[in-house]
Symmetry: C2
DNA sequence: TCGACAGGCAAGCAACCACTTGCCTATAGT
DNA sequence: ACTATAGGCAAGTGGTTGCTTGCCTGTCGA
């Protein structure tokens, strides 16, 4: 479970997809494709993005809903919220903002 | 920079190493090796752990200091603190605890 | 009804990654 | 001085992964 989450975040293209979904929820596969090629100059095939979305969905970071022939993708930030707690909770060093 | 961080976290063995360092700071390579084999039944070679530590150090998650023939490793949680902010900051969904 | 559009499935390939093996350096103890 | 200990360097290997290519399914508009 944590494994799928961290592996999903390991790829820079997948993180950019999360960026796009954070900026605008409910995008379709083609919208994400064109956004990636426009803004980031990424020449990815449709299937590549589709596979990335499958990985993100398996990790719980993306949820999809189908309407007709469109499939809309939504970002779910819930799995991201407790990632660092695993190592931060018993933190003995003082990481306060530099005065 | 973010790439090294996420790739470092992608491996389950490296995350266990971070767990061990979170539990006890300043461990040597051999201490980490024996801990991993004891507690997690991981039969890893010394070089495997050494390479993992190099990856973690490149990501800024582990800092090392040399004293004589020993090299002590310390966990640095600083890179972990702002990981999720990238996607959470402009979060419009209501993820409050279930009432 | 038929063609265009949105998406899915599966095999194949090249690059990467975790891990091993073998050898080497340097410090500490006797 | 010499041996054991702690660690490093580099080449090789099997498995994984990101991406492509080709083909198929389902939905909407004319």
């Amino acid at each position: 479970m944590a494994d799928a989450l961290f592996k999903a975040l390991a790829d820079p293209t997948r993180r950019k997809i999360l960026d796009e979904l954070a900026e605008r929820q409910g995008q379709t596969l083609f919208e994400i494709c064109s956004r990636l090629s426009m803004k980031h100059r990424l020449g990815l095939s449709r299937q590549a993005v589709s596979q990335h979305l499958a990985v993100l969905e398996a990790a719980g970071l993306v949820e999809s809903r189908r309407e007709g022939r469109y499939k809309f993708h939504d970002l779910n930030t819930e799995p991201l919220r407790h990632i660092a707690e695993r190592w931060i909770r018993s933190d003995q060093s003082d990481h306060r903002e530099t005065p």
